[in-house]
Symmetry: D2
Subunit: 462 residues, 4 copies
């Protein structure tokens, strides 16, 4: 499954609010619902019309914020961030929002995405005397703004945005304004909602449900939204291109209760499972999913085939960052960590194991093996996405193709490697049709580059 | 659902091992798999043949133990405990195992259960000069042992066990021996397994799967097992009575991958859901369960009725003890905490919501309301157990019947209170037959007292 | 100096107050002024007429108590304790006051001293079924009270006190009463004072000065004082013996601003230095003292001889428990830890180095060497007390005579060992006359056993 | 005394080493000996020839560094810093050394001093697009270096140093070089020493004694020293001006065992006391000093007058940052905090109280009052420096003259305000002659501006 490469995923979650007396509190609950997008760090910055105040830290939202700290963050506007990885050398200083103070006013930045030209821009800025305090891509954006000769902050931001290439969803807060921007391809989801008179913005709509807000619309690719005392104002900083929202949001990243670009995630995944059942049926006794991200697809597969859906694999909910890994000797003696098979369910059964993806294959191999040891007589692996054959440059850190098993192995070879009785992936067409986005582009507005090698920006084409 | 009364459940989890060079490490993983039985505190005590060493603390197993602390706990035998509640005034000193040192040797105690005559025994012991350091029932057992005039520790333990009334599963570790005891009614589950040459004992068999051990048998009601350098020896400290294992273990407490007295929990719960479907079918569009404990029953209900099973409710996995509760005003504005509805799934649908139980009814009411706000057109509540009409005295702290809504209201009244379109509970017969224990007693060896008021010990009969 | 044997000193400090609305706060400042008597742990228990509440921890008073914790300790009476050593295996549970709760009422205990028959009493109590939770002597006293058949707590306490042998100063707090007791020899200092209408009791009078209280009198050997709503009441639990207050309180333990049994400590030490100058003068350029305890004696020596007093040795004030000890290689390269010589002051000078005592001689050797390396041309060591030749059993843990260099070496042999140009100790007569206690006993009411081997209780006589 | 204005003193301590396998460890002990110069934060950065690694934190050196963290800092060169105040808004990010990474190499900065044109430079840099991450003056220096067009780092540093005005002693570490610079007036002390083959540099020579190093020479005003693989190289970045070392280093800041510019501090202070005795003798019974900084002067005063020196005031050693301040009501009841009088010493006596300085007068008033309450019949205050009449701009933050009592009151008026029987300050000539610097300038190379209003840089002249 996709989670198997540590640090593979550069996903993050962002949340913002304008015009609410409990802005920091709302942001806390919003971030909490986006926690699945990043567990390494969290932070909130508030604006009270005169200054910015922030608090951030390493760990979960609930670990970073105590009630006392939250109370101190008074103000009518706030932005927040949950950070996935410490890629880049990380640590505390890379936790966002990043806060930049100066004599002429402060800006706070929260960013979800990956800038493909960040290093190049950073070198140029340093040559001109800029000093970077973090190893985060995001800081490049701040320097570009400060370096701009444009007369107003809005113009500075627009110019700076045009320097950036890649996937980005930005929230920028000043003492008196909230800026929202999405890259011209719209790789990342970003939605706008209302909470009474307040405006909210979030990476996923589940945050709206949790804070009691109502969904309004998606932020458009290339759009720059400014919210201040005078109201909401929308501009374009770049021409609209066909949307290329990341397919993995549907397959793996997003929470089942979110709607991404209008499509419910649980439903999309269940449809992936149903389609997979049509494309690759198998005779078996039970269907089981790899928790948590493959449950919906497994239910769909079971429903479409009529094979009973069972809890054949259990995930321990209490595995945190402080979990002590078993020694090699204990692992060989059979000590399990995160996932364990339910022998009472799988023993003597032909099992269909549905997972969302295969990256290196090692995790799949381990799970297949686990199911067999628990007594499964057959294990049929069904993957609710096509083979991942190419690295992603917009938010998933797969430095080379070498790690991707499907880049160099056939399906049959992979089957042998993971030890399954049969193996099938979903087709590209199946993926698109099951998700069911309106077909306004060759790929229906989805980025499929990790399956096809065709990159929307044409930069990395092979 | 049963979790709705804070501190209601006095459940705990215990784990022990004898004869393994990494006894503390194995216990760590064992306890980790039992974490669902108690999140308030955890501890491990090891014996190395000459002394006992222990570490314990408030919080999750992963929070209490760092690798360094675990490394210090070297020894070939260990017992461990996860504690559910701080009932009794709690805090650090009540976290188990309790460790009692003396000139003549030390004993460590880990206890799962509830002694109904603990206060009475404590008063008598204090009148004779004993000083208690905890407010835990468990300490009474230690004092009874120390007060006994019997010549050997084994005899002292047997006499002490006979003073106790209620539900208890005890692990007692000395420098050189491990004692295992289960109360004469066998209210609590306690299983024995093997890990190579080592013996393991645990509240649930999922711990065996996680550490790679194989299940051997249940500890019998009234049995006292002694493991030492000479091997394993079994005695009885009390005559065998018909087993009265707590029905709630099947309905709510145990982990789906455990087998309790030979019956798999997920399968039992799925059968409860199927039986419920037969007893109380309804025309609807989707079936959803309240996570986590009701998922299996909901899947069973869906399977038996043919109505699709969907993720209509999402539980936030990251709610920990440090979660900041929303203010009243935020709650009124719609801020959700732990559970949120998936509007993309339930909107415009007739929903069957399957839950495991109703205690006070407030949670059910909240969930029904949540589903309606998310757009459900009908909400039909199905409970996979009979109405709880009587307090439990063996491990569930329901001080009075007043809190139990089913003690004073009819099913129709409850339906109105929780705002459901229809409501049905499982029948007593349905419960017994679905779980399917061999019928060696009127109640098939299950304690049904919270549903019937008929208490196995006859002490609290009305 | 005396501090050189780690864990040598079993001294502690105790403080109590009755009848003040800010009892816990006053106790905090009182304990803070007694911090020199113990840095390992601190605790406070308050009584509010109905219950006892306490807080304690490892570390300094300022580390153990935050303002929030102190605020919670509301009540009109309090006792507190600072603990010196972790002797006995220590840790959190041994930090005092110890708090014993029971159905019939609670007691809290704070103890300064050493019971010579504690182990013997503990064995007997355990044989009768008592369970000890600490390895502290003090707990024995609690069990003796609880085991007593006497009808009232006061009678129980008096009987229990008569079981005890050794040095003890006890504060015992119940919900409604404060008990104060001093052993029949009065080994330890314990004074009573008034703060407005409140009563205060402390190990040293410096605590009275710090909290603004006025000194009233010493607690008498064998006296039991009870303070409750009816006022103050004094009884005897034992016949008065000649007082044997520890000489080391004057020489080393107590703070310079305290008066012990009416005699100011700084003045006593300065007189020890003056007397030493008369007994053992020497031609030299400067006098320096080993900080902190020998400063007063050095000033006295300088004043009596006319040799200038200088700061020849500096103590780093910031050496705490978390100080990282230098590696052996760094120590050999000359890295100093706690004490460093002032070469600007000692270079080219004949130095008189005044210290309070020599125990093993290793520290003296190190300091003499340090002074020579800093350029001193001669180093004359003068000790403001007689040679320590015998172990102490009443509060100083010198298990055998073997560690005491003066038990087996002549003054000349010690001089050679420590590398001094000359060495002299104060005479026994000099010690007594310089301190100047009224001569109501052969030893003027001082315990001199570590210098003479004559033990007040006759128990350990050689 | 000078410590009475919170945040008054911007002093810090710096330490560096080049060419030692345990560079970080040596720096730890060096910083530890400089702890009196700053207790708010500490940090160390090491260079291993290829990269810089650092660790820093709020609190004492012993609190910030654990053994584990120190072990990770391997490398042959290191610089360290102890920070006095959090002036500037402070917090973690302002703790030094500041570490600036870039594609072209990293620099770490440790700074003792105060830049008088920092704000002006910062505004200019921000206008050109620089982003500041701290509110520390020191960061300005880093930006000036990075902005410089000069071809080599050394040239960049020299140009940057010439932008700076005020007092500064800088250590700058790169992967391969250590730079040392002192401002052209030499306001701050900075000395060079040897430790075997290694070079060391420190704010005070006491650090050399503690690590076993030998003193070589002072860094000269306007000197830039570069140490790298090729050896030590000295240059000038500015013409030499007459040295203006801060008089307060002799009077108050430095540790008694340090030599500042060749003069021992304890000896200098004792001479200040002796001179004060000549200038302002008084008939009295005892002399006492205000601990710790006035002890040496008091001893000198006593020696010169023949009046006995006594410990009339005691400082509690355990007052840390976590000390709970007494409430107003407790303070009125007489609760003391840091300092308490020794009534056993002062009662009935005519007391000479020697202090190093008077800033606002409130502390002096409190101490005089304290001594009277303890029974002193007369209190004669003698100050071992002239009246402070002007603010300092080079490291002591006295924003306005209004806080300085001596700026607006005569000696007699101050005497009345503080309630002394007599009051005398040392004369300007007395100060210069007692310290005894070689008279190579009108003020003997000392900055006397706070006593005279004559500022070396002519910038702030009135």
């Amino acid at each position: 499954m996709l989670a198997e490469i540590k640090g593979l995923n550069e996903e993050c979650g962002i949340f913002g609010i304008w015009g609410h007396t409990e802005a920091a509190q709302i942001t806390y609950y919003g971030l909490h619902s986006l926690q699945h997008r990043g567990q390494e760090g969290a932070g909130i910055v508030v604006a009270d019309g005169e200054s910015l105040k922030g608090h951030k830290g390493l760990g979960l939202v609930t670990e970073v914020f105590s009630n006392g700290e939250l109370q101190k963050l008074n103000g009518m506007a706030a932005i927040g961030h949950v950070r996935y990885s410490t890629a880049g050398g990380g640590g505390y200083e890379n936790v966002q929002p990043l806060l930049f103070r100066s004599q002429s006013g402060s800006i706070a930045l929260a960013h979800n995405g990956n800038l493909v030209n960040a290093t190049e821009l950073k070198i140029r800025l340093e040559q001109q005397g800029s000093i970077f305090q973090t190893t985060s891509d995001t800081e490049v954006f701040a320097h570009l703004i400060r370096r701009s000769m444009a007369p107003t902050l809005k113009e500075q931001i627009k110019i700076a945005l045009n320097y950036l290439e890649g996937a980005f969803a930005f929230l920028l807060l000043t003492e008196t304004e909230l800026y929202i921007a999405l890259d011209p391809n719209g790789f990342r989801p970003l939605s706008i909602g209302r909470l009474g008179n307040a405006y909210v913005v979030a990476s996923e709509t589940c945050a709206f449900d949790v804070v009691g807000a109502t969904y309004e619309r998606e932020v458009e690719p290339g759009e720059l939204i400014i919210i201040n005392a005078e109201g909401v104002h929308s501009e374009r900083f770049a021409e609209k291109r066909p949307r290329s929202i990341c397919s993995m949001e549907y397959i793996y990243f997003a929470r089942p209760d979110s709607n991404v670009d209008g499509i419910n995630i649980h439903t999309a995944r269940k449809n992936l499972g149903k389609r997979l059942a049509l494309e690759a049926p198998v005779e078996a006794d039970i269907v089981t999913g790899v928790p948590d991200s493959s449950i919906s697809a497994a239910i769909g597969y079971a429903e479409a085939t009529g094979i009973p859906y069972e809890l054949g694999l259990i995930k321990n909910r209490y595995v945190g960052r402080t979990f002590i890994q078993p020694s090699q000797s204990l692992r060989e003696q059979g000590v399990k960590m995160k996932l364990s098979p339910v022998s009472g369910v799988v023993a003597g059964k032909r099992v269909v194991m549905v997972d969302d993806s295969i990256v290196r294959g090692t995790t799949s191999k381990r799970i297949v093996n686990m199911l067999r040891e628990a007594g499964a007589t057959e294990v049929h692996v069904r993957i609710s996405s096509p083979p991942i054959t190419h690295p992603c440059f917009y938010g998933i850190d797969m430095s080379t193709r070498e790690e991707l098993i499907a880049a160099s192995h056939s399906v049959e070879e992979i089957r042998q490697l993971i030890g399954a009785d049969s193996l099938a992936f979903l087709s590209l067409e199946g993926l698109i049709e099951a998700i069911g986005r309106p077909s306004d582009s060759p790929w229906c507005g989805q980025c499929m580059s990790c399956f096809t090698g065709k990159y929307p920006l044409n930069t990395f084409q092979e």
